[in-house]
Symmetry: C2
Subunit: 108 residues, 2 copies
């Protein structure tokens, strides 16, 4: 998968995922890997900065949770503002796809 195509789609992916419920970083990476059948491995160097940026803008919020074995996980949960933003991003995404499709032609 061309890295450059991914650029800008990460927030969309993250917010979409978090719509299903709070998740922690490692879990997000594994979920993406599994759902794409290994095609796409979200990298930590892309994930955490993106997560932190979404938190800084209050589109998501985070909280630590202690597991039974004593280890900590940082969960991220989508916020109202994040839902609104996601909705806008989705529209933009669809427009973008339509636009490219118009030039590239319909899928083979």
């Amino acid at each position: 998968m061309d890295r450059e195509l991914l650029k800008g789609s990460t927030p969309l992916l993250l917010l979409s995922l978090l719509c299903e419920g709070p998740m922690y970083g490692y879990q997000i990476i594994e979920t993406v890997r599994q759902r794409t059948g290994g095609t796409y491995t979200l990298k930590e160097g892309a994930l955490y900065p993106a997560l932190h940026k979404l938190e800084a803008t209050e589109f998501i919020a985070s909280y630590w949770e202690t597991q039974e074995n004593g280890r900590e996980r940082r969960y991220y949960a989508i916020q109202p503002a994040g839902l609104a933003f996601l909705s806008a991003k989705k529209k933009e995404w669809n427009q973008f796809v339509d636009m490219v499709q118009a030039f590239v032609g319909p899928r083979a």
Copy 2:
């Protein structure tokens, strides 16, 4: 249109366009603007470097043509290697769209 989404899609757009025949820079910009109804204006700072890079890799070739009024235009034409590359890029694009769609959910 979110700038970040566009990243990486420019070569795909350009090669797709040039599939229809040779074009010159200004014409490409105008064509994209018109076909998208003004939604997307390809910037010169993105276009020319992309064009030159595609030429450096011999995916496209360029030649100057003089108009009747004496002015010059630099036309870019797709090359065989460019066609092959475009084909691969298209596949990648479809994979990418499918991937994101899988997370974002089907279009509203």
